[in-house]
């Protein structure tokens, strides 16, 4: 299906005029969205929310003088989910904590992203066969970037933020993915 200036494929698919209007509005807003995405990518405010060990590396050490997340403008840790853009799931999610993780994610305003940091947040890590651990943050909320390690180094977290920035700004992140 090719898109021309006059006709959009949606007009072939449906006759619902309100739907066509909505799709066209989104298309008209696309250039603006691009500018916004540029801004969003440069201003990812993380939610100040640490679960376990990874919080020390991902939130504390990354913000600290050595690694200095503030160079990229991401140092604004907001403790209120209403003001945050990125949720850094740093640590093991237990069954008791899971509802709160979901709730915090839902309280964040759109657009929002999630970084799953450490093997616990990816798959449950060393605690995967425990009776009380959720095996991975992606069982609960959609995850954008995974950072492997137990616990990942702060450099890895910086790289995760860079990847998320590229993803937000619409660049191809995984060129060699097969």
């Amino acid at each position: 299906m090719d898109v021309t200036r006059e006709q959009h494929p949606i007009e072939k698919m449906t006759n619902d005029s309100s739907l066509i209007q909505q799709v066209k509005r989104v298309i008209h807003l696309a250039p603006l969205e691009k500018i916004f995405n540029l801004a969003r990518g440069y201003s990812l405010w993380p939610l100040g929310f640490g679960l376990a060990c990874c919080a020390i590396e991902g939130l504390m050490a990354t913000n600290a003088p050595r690694f200095d997340l503030s160079r990229f403008g991401y140092e604004v840790l907001r403790s209120s989910p209403r003001q945050a853009d990125v949720m850094l799931v740093a640590g093991t999610i237990t069954n008791k904590m899971a509802p709160y993780v979901v709730r915090l994610y839902e309280q964040m305003p759109e657009p929002k992203w999630v970084i799953a940091m450490g093997s616990c947040a990816i798959s449950g890590g060393p605690f995967v066969d425990s009776y009380y651990v959720v095996p991975g943050a992606d069982k609960l909320i959609p995850v954008d970037v995974y950072v492997p390690g137990c616990s990942p180094r702060p450099d890895a977290v910086l790289h995760a933020f860079m990847m998320l920035r590229d993803k937000v700004q619409g660049k191809v992140v995984l060129e060699n993915a097969r």
Binding site: S130, Y131, Y132
Partner: protein
């Protein structure tokens, strides 16, 4: 190690007062459940031992009984003491030590939470780590669960 374990003379004195206790070779004392509270009170209040610090309280699920373990320390003399209480497999219950040591409070709740051992004579015996509706007691050997490994 200096000042670590309790001298055998003190143990002998305890044996006279509580004939029902058993002392193993590494000076671990096994106390019958009925005498636990009075035994512990003696340990805490007698100035000869002065066990003022309940450092550890936990339990083990052995094949034929539950054992509750108490580790006591006397700051005055530097003695340490391990006391054990054996409980039956069905509805294990033991008297609570919260009236003697405040540190027993949370540790008893933890043991109740993970083993289902009832501590009598105390209030607020609720789950502390797991949520209230959790089914079963995970540290029992017969606890069945589904892990997340794929």
């Amino acid at each position: 190690m200096p000042g670590s374990s309790i001298p055998s003379t003190v143990i002998d004195g305890l044996k006279d007062k509580f004939p029902a206790i058993e002392v193993s070779e590494n000076l671990t004392i096994t106390v019958p459940e009925a005498e636990l509270l009075s035994f512990m009170r003696e340990l805490r209040d007698n100035p000869d031992y002065d066990f003022n610090f309940l450092t550890n309280l936990t339990a083990v699920d052995y094949p034929d009984n539950f054992t509750v373990i108490y580790n006591l320390v006397s700051f005055k003399y530097g003695y340490t003491l391990m006391a054990k209480v054996n409980l039956g497999k069905d509805e294990p219950a033991v008297s609570s030590l919260t009236s003697l040591w405040g540190s027993a409070d949370w540790q008893e709740r933890e043991v109740y939470d993970l083993f289902g051992i009832i501590f009598t004579g105390r209030h607020n015996l609720t789950r502390i780590l797991l949520e209230d509706g959790f089914a079963g007691y995970p540290l029992r050997k017969d606890f069945q669960w589904v892990g997340g490994r794929e």
